[in-house]
Amino acid sequence: MAGFGKTLGRAVTWPLTLVARAVDPPLRVWQRWTGTGGMAAVFLAPNLAIFGVFVLIPLVLNFVYSMTGGTGILLDQRSFIGMEQYGRLLECEDYTRRITCREDQFWTAVTNTATFVIFQVTLMVTVSLITALILNRNIRGRGFFRAVFFFPVLLSPVVVGLIWRWILQRQGLLNLITVNLGLEPEVWLNDRFYAFAATVGVSTWAHMGFYTLILLAGLQAIPRDLYEAAEMDATPPMRVFRRITLPLLGPNFAVVLVLALIRGVQIFDEVYVLTGGGPGTSTLYLTQYIYEVGFASILRNPGLAAAASILMGAVLVVLTLLQLWFSRRAEGRRAR
């Protein structure tokens, strides 16, 4: 049995040994020539290649596309038009009235996304924090509840959208319950307010487990002694939360805020499946606008979609830098 295990082990490692033997001499020469810095470059190279092919080149291409016109997909079918696409997106007669903008759908999507982000991030952070605080307590079945709250994170966004559409549609589960309770059925997803609330609620439900986990890790890193010292000092629970828990949770909080903000701006899949941007354009968010302009509409305009995505990227970069600045300042203040 031991002999068989040894043979199996050799069979598995044999190809690796061959590769190792083949790359060893040139790597030794390379290390002698460039030192350990050069070796680091060798090990980073595969990752950099993947990053280059799948992130950097598309990013540059996207920027190039944003300065081209026409409906063709291939670059040689498109004409260079400079910053015209950006001008088209940003041109308005009166910035307080969307209808006067040349690309009013873009502004609708921007307004919808901003509203969505404000509500969704606030709700997400609040609910995640409350859930983390509850799960951090010594409650019965804590492990089970942690798994339950994290479970939606494992679902594909399309599945999330389908589940909730099945619940919220005209003949869905929710209406079945309301009818059984003797109430009038509601057309949830055809109502502007309910549809918006559904997108906020569903995306919060789908992602809160992840943020709860980050906050829970932060809560568990706060030494128990600090709470016991506060208990000896007769500190009321709200003051403990405000003066001890929240400040010490700061770095985790900043991470959660940045990630929730970025994902909020990028929201697409579950909302597209759930409401399709409707009713009308009431849940049309920026990523869906980009997708529809670039690929789905009859008069597709990849250049305009690329310009919109560049603008969205710029906003995300600014938001991220702002958040990082805030969190570093907070950490610096704590260290002083």
Binding site: P223, D225, L226, E228, A229, A230, E231, M232, D233, A234, T235, P236, R239, R243, I244, P247, L248, R334, A335, R336
Partner: protein, 349 residues
């Protein structure tokens, strides 16, 4: 103020009982040290007194009032934690004032208490620093300061010096003793370091496996240990033990030295290493072979095996010319400690 009484205290975690019915009285202004090996229940007992844990049964009284079910906040006690438990995001001043602000004390009163504690502990110039900017000793002072400003009925100190280096520990130990003298407030001090216990305590409570083995003054414990555990735990190096069968009112140590014993049968003879000295004549002595010699300058610690194989240690003053492998003959002036088969003390001493 500050009399603490424990009556039949037990504590269980699940099915495991870790404190088995402890009765103890701590007098007003007394400094009592809980000492014992790891896992003996000393910190658990302190947490029960603090109110951070609830006893499974029994009663805790502070100044005659039953506080068993009273919350930690309402017991009027202050605790110094092993980790110091300073709030890392607050300055020293904020750390000191945090507990007082909870009581809605006037700001002027808070400021004056902080200034007084700052002067007493010499941390006045550290008030605007955060704990990360302080040394271990300074953090320790701030932790003590946080307890002092509350003007508590009693201080509870959970291994407060264990995170400091040996030199600083010695300094802080002396400062704590002075502080206790100045404040004259009851202090309960938990440590596993018997030097701390011996030097600081008015009385020491020796704990083992959740039970009190002996309560006495430091010298009382050293001179009259009531059982084998206390005899072995208190004193450094540990007491030498010889299990011998006594007949005719005496027991013969390895080598032929006889010790008077009040009863016949199996006894354990305990001799402190400091009480042994080199035998100078040919009279019967405690004999053995030297295994290791530790020359410390002012004194020499000799590890040897008695002729019957029992390990023994002796501390001789000066620098005797002895080496490993040599025969050694020892004797003593003081009557040794005698313990029966149940491990309890036989002689009144």
């Amino acid at each position: 103020m500050g009399r603490i009484v424990l009556k039949g205290i037990t504590k269980s975690f699940g099915n495991a009982e870790v404190i088995h019915g402890i009765d103890l009285e701590i007098g007003e202004g007394e400094l009592v040290v809980f000492v014992g090996p790891s896992g003996c229940g000393k910190s658990t007992l302190l947490r029960l007194i603090a109110g951070l844990d609830r006893p499974t049964s029994g009663r805790i009284e502070i100044d005659g009032e039953d506080v068993t079910r009273v919350s930690a906040a309402d017991r009027g006690l202050a605790m110094v934690f092993q980790s110091y438990a300073l709030y890392p995001h607050m300055t020293v001043r904020q750390n000191l004032s945090f507990g007082l602000e909870n009581t809605r004390m006037p700001k002027s009163e808070i400021a004056s208490r902080i200034d007084e504690a700052g002067r007493m502990l010499e941390i006045g110039d550290l008030m605007e620093r955060r704990p990360t900017q302080l040394s271990g000793g300074q953090r320790q002072r701030v932790a003590i300061g946080r307890a002092i400003v509350r003007n508590p009925t009693a201080f509870l100190l959970d291994e407060p010096l264990s995170n400091l280096d040996a030199e600083l520990r010695g300094t802080m130990r002396a400062e704590l003793a002075q502080l206790h003298e100045r404040l004259a407030t009851t202090m309960i001090y938990v440590t596993h370091d018997q030097v701390e216990a011996m030097t600081l305590a008015d009385r020491i409570v020796v704990l083992r496996k959740g039970m009190v083995e002996q309560v006495d003054t430091p010298l009382g414990l050293y001179n009259q240990p009531q059982n084998l555990f206390v005899a072995g735990f208190i004193g450094s190096p540990n007491m030498n033990f010889f299990r011998i069968r006594a007949t005719g009112g005496s027991a013969e140590l390895p080598g032929g030295l006889k010790v008077p014993v009040p009863c016949d049968g199996e006894v354990t003879i305990g001799i402190r290493p400091q009480n042994l000295k080199l035998a100078v004549d040919d009279a019967p002595a405690l004999e053995g072979e030297i295994r290791l010699v530790e020359a410390l300058g002012a004194e020499t610690v000799i590890h040897a095996d008695a002729v019957d194989g029992t390990p023994m240690v002796t501390v001789l003053s000066g620098q005797p010319a002895l080496g490993a492998g040599q025969r050694i003959r020892l004797t003593f002036d003081e009557l040794p400690h005698l313990f029966g088969t149940d491990g309890m003390r036989l002689n009144p001493h």
